[in-house]
């Protein structure tokens, strides 16, 4: 009688465990995580645009860099040193294939990079420092100091990455653009980004005691005609 009661009690406990899901095989795979960097409930397809404004500044910067990474563009870079010298760069293409015209002190250096190969026609001052002949096309590798000495100015994505490391905030979207504030409360400058569509930069303004930098981006997505000189 006693053992029978014990058996009944054990069966009842087992049934309770099964019914209350306190036993049995536990859930196998971990469920897919939800995004933690954005509050999806705030997204309104009609008003929030591409969702960039909902991100934190750091995430927005990542998003901008991701969008830029694959898109060629025409970039105009103007760097004014505090002393008054000006460096003008007209850059067309992406980081792998591009043509660049670099103007400094009234001289022009032309660079064409196609994959691993590059053709540089240096200006007089560049030729003097690099030991090449000014005005003559030098066929070099893309990793040659003749090309890399301008980094990161010849790679728009790298330039933006470097110039927006101190992104501190996001402005309100206006006229289809959104400002990523640089430095504390935007004191260092701002990166204007398209609020609609891909998060591509439109304009970067940044200044500090060394000088000021203004970068204009146009023609996103248009692959340039990059052709090395025939003798390279």
């Amino acid at each position: 009688m006693n053992s029978r009661r014990t058996g009944v009690a054990a069966a009842a406990v087992a049934a309770l465990l099964v019914l209350s899901a306190c036993s049995g095989p536990s859930a196998g795979p971990t469920p897919a995580p939800s995004p933690t960097w954005i509050d999806l409930s705030e997204y309104d397809a009609a008003e929030s645009g591409s969702g960039l404004a909902l991100l934190s500044p750091a995430d927005a910067r990542d998003e901008i860099l991701r969008a830029m990474a694959t898109a060629p563009a025409t970039t105009s870079i103007v760097f004014r040193e505090a002393s008054g010298r000006t460096l003008d760069i007209a850059l067309t293409g992406d980081s792998d294939r591009f043509t660049a015209e670099i103007m400094a002190d009234g001289e022009t250096t032309s660079i064409v990079v196609d994959g691993a190969e590059a053709a540089v026609r240096p200006s007089a001052s560049v030729a003097a420092s690099a030991g090449t002949i000014a005005g003559e096309v030098a066929c070099v590798a893309a990793g040659d100091p003749l090309v890399t000495r301008w980094a990161p100015l010849l790679d728009a994505a790298a330039l933006i990455a470097e110039m927006t490391e101190d992104a501190s905030g996001l402005g309100a979207p206006a006229d289809g653009t959104l400002e990523l504030l640089l430095g504390e409360d935007g004191t260092a400058g701002a990166l204007e980004v398209a609020a609609s569509g891909a998060a591509l930069p439109i304009r970067l303004v940044r200044s500090d005691e060394a000088g000021s930098l203004e970068v204009l981006f146009t023609d996103w997505g248009q692959a340039p005609d990059v052709a090395l000189p025939p003798d390279c």
Binding site: P31, L40, S48, G49, E63, A198, A199
Partner: protein, 247 residues
Amino acid sequence: MSDSPPTRRRAVDPSPSGATRIVRPATPADEIPLATSAYAPRRSPGLVTGTPAFAPVPVEEPPAGLGPVQIGWSADRTSLAATSRAAIRPLETSSDVLPELVEAPEKARPLWRHPASIVSMITTFVALLALGAFIVFGLLNPGAAASGLALEVGDDNVRATWSGPDTPYQLVVVGGPGGDELDISQLVTGTEAWIPRSAGLIDERSCLVVRPAASEGEPVSLDADALAAQGATSACVAEAEGAAADE
């Protein structure tokens, strides 16, 4: 009734042994009717010598052996029936008017015949019927399934639409910038979802899997068999962009 008291009817019962004899008085003095007295009529004294005052009437005499005539059963209980030939009906009823209730014997009822037990058995039966109905309906309607996921890639967002019953769905981005699997069910409204493109959720290399929320715990897979088993459907952004470019 049989024990009703004797009546005068018995006295006048015309039986051969007790036949009523009508005796006419022989003399005028005898014309005085007999009272119901046990005594013989008194003869008037000799003063009454005139003509007879009454016509001679028959006098009922009790049959021999029954003694003096009695009306009713006792001195204060007379009977009207004494003067008629109808059946004698006593003025009182001898039997009780109300039927006597016989007390039902107390029997110990088995437990299952108690009303509460019967009601609970009926409700149990009804519950079992409902369970059977639910099982049948469940077998007839297998779990909800999403089908035909279509993506529209716009400037700002990717619009995912699919068809299926109005139940909660789980929407998972596979291979997006936010990780191998990313649950963005929060964006689902009904059978569509607008996914912002610049929020680190989805890119050109991502695929989407939609499945009923019931299969949330199962692993996410783009395999056709697994999708079918979960009632899920999938689509990739690249395919949608390619299809849009072809048009």
